[in-house]
């Protein structure tokens, strides 16, 4: 029994790490109407800025995180102005391909200037708390806490503030929102800024859990997309829940399918859900256009 509880813990932590990326993807799909493939590499940029600033400021993770959030927000908003704004009225695929291009560009810039060597956050490594066999790693507690806080803040912003209401209005129907006097341009800037902040935090969390390499974000794109789709495209809450579900399903399946096929299994689960509910767990069919 403790074995399974430990697996659930491992899966939950992995899911939470992916949840932020999935949320960023889901948000951009809801409002800007395309899956942003540059989300992964924006995360990587965030992780690099944080790890380098931390090293330069004698180990201050806070300074690193703030710098990372500023940089990824700027990158994200710049992407909107330079690329996505110009493609706004074009078919979805134009923005999608452009976002893949941005992803490659960001990664190439990182490798050109910083190389491929791995960087590591300076975080004290401590033993797990042991509750009669159930192990909880302190750093996982911290990361989960931060993930939950950031997720909560995003939801408050989306559902309890005027800005959030405007974002949801634009998501529902951009022309109607404009006709009702909502400045969609401002809403878009807010969306891309939030997406930048989420990417930075997600990147830092992955960087702390693993190591910072140029592939960090790109490698997580597929699970993050899977979570966004499973949760119901354009449903932020669904994306978060789906990320955790996929994480837990993967780890709990390991005693039965082993470690190579657990990844495949989570995608089998994804396909199964989509057959029953084509709009995803929490997606509303009319939202998907």
């Amino acid at each position: 029994m403790t074995e399974y509880i430990n697996l659930v813990i491992a899966g939950t932590v992995q899911g939470l790490v992916i949840a932020l990326a999935a949320l960023a993807i889901s948000l951009s799909f809801a409002v800007a109407r395309f899956p942003n493939a540059a989300t992964g590499d924006t995360m990587t940029v965030g992780a690099y800025v944080a790890v380098l600033v931390q090293a330069a400021t004698a180990g201050s993770l806070l300074a690193g995180s703030i710098a990372a959030i500023i940089v990824t927000t700027l990158v994200s908003v710049a992407c909107y102005f330079l690329v996505f704004k110009k493609l706004e009225r074009r078919p979805l695929v134009a923005s999608l391909i452009a976002s893949i291009g941005i992803a490659f560009f960001l990664r190439s810039m990182l490798t050109f200037f910083l190389g491929f060597e791995q960087h590591v956050f300076q975080i004290p490594i401590s033993r797990a708390l042991n509750f009669s066999g159930i192990r909880i790693i302190p750093i996982d507690l911290w990361l989960s806490g931060i993930a939950i806080l950031v997720l909560a803040a995003t939801f408050v912003l989306l559902f309890l503030t005027p800005l959030g209401r405007r974002m949801r209005a634009v998501a529902a129907d951009m022309d109607l929102a404009r006709a009702s006097g909502i400045r969609s341009g401002r809403v878009m800037i807010a969306l891309w800024a939030i997406s930048g902040v989420l990417s930075a935090v997600a990147g830092i969390m992955v960087g702390i859990k693993t190591v910072v390499t140029p592939d960090l974000g790109w490698d997580l794109l597929l699970p993050a997309f899977a979570a966004a789709i499973l949760g119901g495209i354009g449903s932020p809450g669904g994306a978060v829940l789906a990320a955790i579900l996929l994480g837990v399903a993967q780890e709990v399946s390991t005693p039965f399918v082993g470690f190579t096929y657990k990844i495949a299994l989570s995608f089998v689960a994804l396909i199964a859900v989509l057959i029953v509910r084509p709009a995803g767990l929490f997606g509303q069919p009319e939202r998907v256009r």
Partner: protein, 403 residues
Amino acid sequence: MTVHFRSTTLLGGIALAASLIAAPAIGQEAYRIGALNPVTGAGNTYGSGMQKSIIAAAAEVNAAGGAAGRKLEVLAEDGQTSAEPAVLAAKKLIEVNKVNAILGTWSSSVSLAIQPMTLASNIILMHTSSAPTLFTQNQRNLDWGFQSGSKYNGRAMAAAVKKEGFTKPAIMSFNNDAAINNVGFFRKAWEAAGGKIVAALTYEPKRTSYRSELQKVLAAKPDVIALSGYLPDTTIILREAYELGATAKFIIPDWAAGPALLKALGPDVSQGVLVYGTVPNIAGAAFKTYSAAYKKALNTSGEENVFGAQAYDMVISLALAIEKAGASADNVAIAKEIRAVSNPDGEKVTSFAEGKAALKAGKKINYEGASGPLDFDEDGNAVADFALFTYDKGQYVKRYLLQ
């Protein structure tokens, strides 16, 4: 064909000229070498050093008048430690640059992807990969492995685990041919000696956590875990093992260790981690030449890059084989001489110039390389010396040589 014709008709004249003056052999067709190294990607710690070592060694050969009068020409490419770009680069080297040999492919996935292309075009391939299939597919003896293959890695691990007095080893490996076979040969050697493996699993690359994998292995209560992977996954696994309170020791290969691992883990977590790896012959003359060239090109010590020494040796042994086979020899004939210039029962030589002079005098030679004695086994795999290292209080220290 015209090129071939020209080179043979000129041969007499060249031989005459070379005997009169030690001038460069004008008109002799250059021997083109593709330096396809992991300059970027997971092998980037070693790739640039390998490439610069190949260029330095070629310069050394050319300064000594070339191999059998043929100048060596190096064309450098980045394989990105990844099969797809490496295949593209190899295609360019073979079809556009018309190279005669490709040197210094590092990871097994790259070497395995290149091998069919080099075999099809009769090109010599010299690599530092350990996947067993590389050696079984080498029917025409065109391929040479300068890094000890999985068989030797496995045996070295078994010797270290035994010497350290462990009795309940578990194995964990990254999911690729080389890593699976490293621990596979460890298992073979260990079980042949009557031992038992308490748990075994293969893990996937690029995961954010290996906690469940560790949980499974640790449940079997091993006293040592033979872990075969690369630096990023090894970093994560060792960190999580510590966090989960694992008491088992780890034994890992040197390409996943080094200063970068220590920097990532710190002295506490890295304490007592055992590392096995091949060691260059530091006291040898060839190593000193290599090391000086390495220092000049990269401004760091060549001792940290055993693959740089191997890449250097590739050029020297290839050049000696060309020298022995003669200017008009094709690749099959040249490859046949690799063993003849480097295996025991000849006069020991430690540089190209020395070997060339001995060959001219009609002697048999045995090139003792920078990376090791360079004696090739029946599969074309150089058998190197292994040593066991460990991290002790934040220092990377050599413990002893493994036999």
